[in-house]
């Protein structure tokens, strides 16, 4: 007893420290359960006509299997992935990417430079892609100073089709099964960045926001997408949330019959009436940023200086004298989008104070003609020029035609030129930015991550560094 007594405090300390270390040390094993709203049938690139949530699911899942040469890092720059370095000439007409060595494909074979060259050639027939040892030489045939950003796009991920027809990649996970019910991924044991902590990931697709939230709260899911209004609920239930940078733009888009110069004062009045700050702070529970421009401030840096509306909004009495058909408007919003619905209702209240009567309607068959839409546009985490170009593509030719002739910025456009393009898009108030919203995820109690959050600021999933701890809720 006398020998034990002096050692007891030390033993207790060791046990406590050991327990603490055990709780924070990554564990291998387990299956990560993820739920998404969108669905995918294959890992090929989503078609342009795919639903936004399906395209988003594809954008998130694909990098887990098929990697690009470079990727967007959390700071908004580029980081090495399959390429450990890259360099180009001064004009950007010739680029050289040095591949990471000993990268193994999911079938166990080593990724060859020729396979990368073949994949890039297949994707970009107009490029001159050659192999130079372990280097890949890319000559795009024109000046491409942002070629590394292009290589970071998912469409340039390296997917190798084997003679058997199976497509394999180099990502931390390989596809085990994909069907209507979901996607089963297995850990890539020979992943160049080290085997993922989890043995696999089960992704249930096509889940509604409410179902995802319920599953998360019930411990049936480890990571789900959530709405901004749900973040507070997660906190109340001692659950965590993870967010990207604002990667979505909510904007009002007037229909062509209201985009005419004769209605400019009406549009300006309505745009001025919208209390963006209240929407961001209250409707979106502080999870969003009021949008002063199409591109978020973190991406462009000039957002507060873009909007400079000409003229004063109409007074309420002037609005009251407008013909009823001009002050009674219908706002179309997605029926299955509760966030957009809430925002639209608030916009309706704001407009009501300005003298307008806005009816929020969900598209249903051959509904009545609507006057404006609340659109949800993804913001690419890339250069401002590329991002604004992508936004213009997402707005569609009909909207661009309505706005007038606005040319997307070129490859070598300066930031001022990009801002000019954006100003041209906004100056007629036919497009009214409302808020920028991040991608939000609810994290289960057993989900832990090593070396950064499971969702990066660029929105990408960092599942290779995720591990599963004990279930805090006691759910098996």
């Amino acid at each position: 007893m006398t020998r034990i007594k002096p050692a007891f405090p030390a033993l207790v300390s060791v046990l406590l420290i050991g327990g603490a270390v055990t709780a924070t040390r990554p564990h291998y094993g387990g299956t990560l359960r993820i739920e998404t709203a969108g669905t995918i049938q294959a890992l090929e690139l989503a078609a342009a006509s795919a639903a936004p949530e399906d395209a988003n699911t594809s954008r998130l899942v694909r990098p887990l299997v098929h990697e690009t040469l470079v990727a967007v890092d959390p700071a908004g720059g580029l980081r090495p992935l399959l390429a450990i370095s890259w360099e180009g000439d001064a004009r950007g007409t010739r680029w050289l990417a040095r591949l990471r060595s000993d990268v193994k494909l999911h079938d166990g074979s080593v990724l060859a430079t020729s396979q990368v060259v073949s994949a890039l050639r297949a994707r970009h027939p107009e490029w001159q892609v050659t192999a130079d040892g372990s280097d890949v030489v890319i000559e795009p045939g024109r000046e491409e100073p942002d070629l590394p950003w292009e290589l970071a796009e998912q469409r340039n991920a390296i997917a190798i089709r084997q003679p058997s027809g199976i497509v394999v990649g180099t990502g931390p996970f390989r596809v085990e099964r994909i069907d209507a019910g979901g996607l089963a991924l297995r850990a890539h044991d020979d992943y160049w960045g080290g085997r993922p902590f989890v043995d696999g990931a089960q992704i249930r697709m096509g889940r509604s926001p409410s179902d995802q939230l319920a599953d998360l709260e019930a411990g049936r899911a480890d990571m789900v997408s959530v709405q901004p209004a749900d973040v507070r609920r997660l906190e109340q239930r001692q659950l965590r949330a993870a967010a990207s940078r604002p990667l979505e733009l909510f904007a009002l888009v007037f229909e062509p019959h209201l985009a005419t110069p004769a209605n400019s004062a009406l549009r300006r009045t309505l745009a001025s009436a919208i209390d963006r700050a209240a929407i961001a702070r209250v409707v979106l529970q502080g999870q969003a940023e009021p949008a002063d421009a199409l591109l978020p401030q973190w991406l462009s840096g000039y957002a507060p200086f873009v909007l400079a509306r000409l003229g004063q909004p109409l007074s309420r009495s002037v609005v009251a004298r407008l013909p009823p058909e001009r002050r009674t408007l219908s706002l179309r919003v997605g029926a299955s989008d509760p966030t957009a619905q809430s925002m639209a209702q608030r916009i309706s209240v704001n407009a009501r104070e300005a003298g307008f009567a806005i009816t929020v309607q969900a598209p249903a068959g051959l509904g009545p003609r609507f006057d404006l839409r609340l659109v949800r546009l993804p913001v690419e985490p890339t250069t401002p020029g590329r991002a604004i170009t992508a936004l213009m593509t997402d707005l569609g030719p009909r909207t661009l035609l309505m706005i007038g002739r606005v040319t997307p910025p070129g490859p070598r456009s300066s930031l001022e030129e990009v801002a000019g393009v954006e100003r041209a898009l906004l100056e007629r108030d036919a497009i009214v930015p409302i808020v920028h919203v991040p991608e939000l995820y609810g994290l289960g109690r057993r989900l832990e991550s090593w070396n950064g959050p499971p969702v990066s600021s660029s929105g990408a999933w960092s599942l290779a560094d995720v591990w599963l701890g004990p279930d805090g809720s006691g759910t098996p």
């Binding site: 209004a229 507070r232 209390d275 209240a278 702070r281 209250v282 409707v283 529970q285 502080g286 809430s342 209702q345 608030r346 309706s348 209240v349 104070e353 009816t359």
Partner: protein
């Protein structure tokens, strides 16, 4: 109208009036009873609504109270006491309202800013229109009516307010339930009743604001005046609305806010259709039974009238028979009692006495006739017999005369005797003729020809020298045709009348004969301009042996009347003293039946 018909009509009328009165009384009484019942039902429903309304208000207040004491509200109040950031609580109201079954719930900050709204979540940040006003914030013991603004409409709500104080700051709760179809459905309505709610939330009466327990009311226009009247007067009113399906009594109850404003009108409709149908059924049942009663009354009335009047009718028939000359009438089979029996006996007695009187009268008349005949006969025979007796006396006295003188006397006497006997023979012949009037021999005869022949027969006499001048005017209807009659007897009639007319004008005058045919009879008129006849003469003119002539037998016109009667005709005379006389004869064309 016969006595039986009169009696039948009288009794039937009495029965009908009685039945109609009873039916009307029953129907009217039933209608009044049901109307009273309906009024009671309506009053009961209105009272029920008041109770439900009060209960609902208390429930709303209790639910708002429970919310005020909930952990969530306490936490919100405490947090807001520390921080002015309302954002985290924007969605607090909806689950609290749902948990308490409220349609409205607003959490309002001390400065009146809406922190969270269950019915209009997007309205946060704006000032609440009434929850933070001193009168409302003070709260009430129960609920009160309030117009509640919603995104697309203004609703009528039964609301309550509650103030929660934490950290020195007030937090106001304004919650309530919507007065809508669901509230109306909670009212227990009797069959035929309905409850409607008008929400007075617009400046003018709008039928879109009227709802029933199944939503919109398709036919609202007839109710608008009543609604407008109640809103204006702020008092209950009632009106009967005439719908195509039937009347409906609508009681309108103003629903007022605490400040007295009429925010709604409860309409309790009590359909008169069921009542009308019931009254109609009663009426028709009454009419059916009344009709049956009337028919039964008619039958009984007829039977009663027949029973009562049958003896009277038999008495009347007997009286008619007596009047027609059939005095041999007996009422032996008449079984009656009482006054009718007395009447019957009196009738029997009367007829017996009449028969006795008649027989005695006949006897007397026979005696009188025989006396008259004897007197006439004696008178008629006495005149011719007197010369005969004188002649016979002359012959007796002349027997002593010389043969020559005797012969002369004898011859003269023979002549006288012969003439006297001839006269006697003529007198006897006339009596014989009257006694032996032959039966007429009917054939088709022409009255015009008979008249013409008769006039011609007297023409020579009329135109004889020394005869007083008489003008004859004959006016014959050429279309008179023939009649069925005895030519000889008709001729005798015409000649007799012509002779009488001539005799009536000893100093001359005008004689007129006309014939006419109409309506199946032939009329012959013979007129003279003589002295005319007095009343007594006209009355006795056709009596046998009555004459106004010095040498008349008094049988001429009696024979004329007899002939006319045998031909089923009529004869009458029109005359006045000094104005002549006209004899009219009507003979049926077809003769006697």
């Amino acid at each position: 109208m016969t006595l039986r018909n009169r009696l039948f009509a009288l009794v039937s009328a009495a029965v009908t009036v009685t039945v109609v009165l009873v039916t009307w009384t029953v129907s009217s009484s039933a209608r009044q009873s049901f109307a009273t019942l309906d009024a009671q039902r309506t009053a009961s429903l209105v009272a029920q609504f008041r109770r439900e309304f009060a209960n609902e208000g208390e429930q709303v207040a209790a639910r708002v109270e429970r919310i005020a004491h909930s952990d969530e509200v306490s936490r919100v109040a405490a947090d807001l006491g520390r921080s002015r950031d309302y954002a985290p609580y924007v969605n607090e109201a909806a689950p609290l309202a749902a948990a308490q079954g409220l349609d409205f719930l607003d959490i309002v900050a001390a400065d009146g800013t809406i922190v969270s709204s269950a019915e209009w979540p997007a309205r946060f940040g704006y000032k609440h229109p009434w929850a933070a006003t001193p009168s409302r914030a003070a709260g009430t013991t129960g609920g009160f009516l309030q117009a509640v603004e919603l995104p697309q409409e203004i609703a009528l709500g039964l609301v309550a307010t509650k103030t929660v104080t934490a950290g020195g700051e007030n937090l106001y709760l304004a919650g309530g339930r919507r007065l809508d179809e669901e509230f109306l459905q909670s009212l227990v309505l009797s069959p035929g009743m309905r409850a409607l709610l008008y929400r007075n939330l617009q400046p003018e009466v709008s039928r879109q604001q009227l709802i029933g327990n199944e939503g919109d009311v398709p036919e609202a226009a007839p109710l608008e005046p009543l609604i407008g009247r109640v809103i204006q007067s702020r008092r209950e009113a009632s009106e009967t609305i005439a719908w195509p399906e039937g009347p409906e009594t609508v009681d309108a109850l103003p629903l007022q806010a605490p400040d007295g404003a009429v925010l709604g009108v409860l309409l309790v409709g009590n359909s008169g259709r069921e009542l009308a149908a019931l009254v109609e059924r009663i009426r028709w049942t009454g009419v059916a039974f009344g009709g049956l009663g009337i028919v039964l009354g008619f039958v009984l009335s007829y039977a009663l009238a027949a029973r009562v009047t049958r003896p009277v009718e038999q008495l009347a028939t007997a009286a008619r028979a007596v009047a027609d000359g059939d005095w041999d009438v007996h009422l032996a089979d008449l079984r009656t009692t009482g006054e009718i029996q007395v009447l019957s006996n009196a009738f029997e007695t009367m007829t017996r006495q009449l028969v006795d009187h008649r027989e005695r009268l006949v006897q007397a008349e026979r005696v009188a006739a025989w006396r008259e005949l004897a007197r006439r006969l004696a008178h008629e025979l006495k005149n011719p017999l007197f010369p005969l007796r004188i002649t016979i006396d002359n012959l007796r006295r002349a027997r002593s005369l010389p043969a020559g003188e005797f012969d002369e006397v004898f011859d003269e006497s023979m002549t006288t005797l012969h003439t006297g006997l001839a006269n006697l023979n003529a007198v006897i012949g006339r009596f014989s003729d009257f006694a032996r009037m032959p039966a007429p021999q009917f054939a088709q005869v022409s009255p015009n020809e008979i008249v013409q022949q008769s006039v011609a027969l007297f023409q020579a006499q009329l135109t004889a020298p020394g005869h007083p001048p008489i003008t004859v005017a004959v006016d014959l209807d050429p279309a008179i045709g023939t009649i069925r009659g005895d030519e000889e007897q008709i001729r005798r009639v015409i000649q007799n009348l012509l002779l009488n007319a001539i005799d009536a004008m000893p100093a001359g005058g005008a004689l007129a004969i006309t014939t006419r045919r109409s309506s199946g009879v032939v009329r012959i008129d013979v007129s003279d301009s003589g002295e005319g006849l007095g009343e007594e003469e006209r009355r006795r003119l056709f009596t046998p042996y009555y004459t106004t002539k010095q040498h008349g037998t008094g049988l001429g016109l009696a024979i004329v009347q007899s002939v006319v009667a045998d031909h089923a005709g009529k004869i009458w005379v029109e005359s006045a003293p000094g104005r002549g006389a006209t004899f009219h004869i009507e003979l049926p064309v077809e003769g006697p039946a």
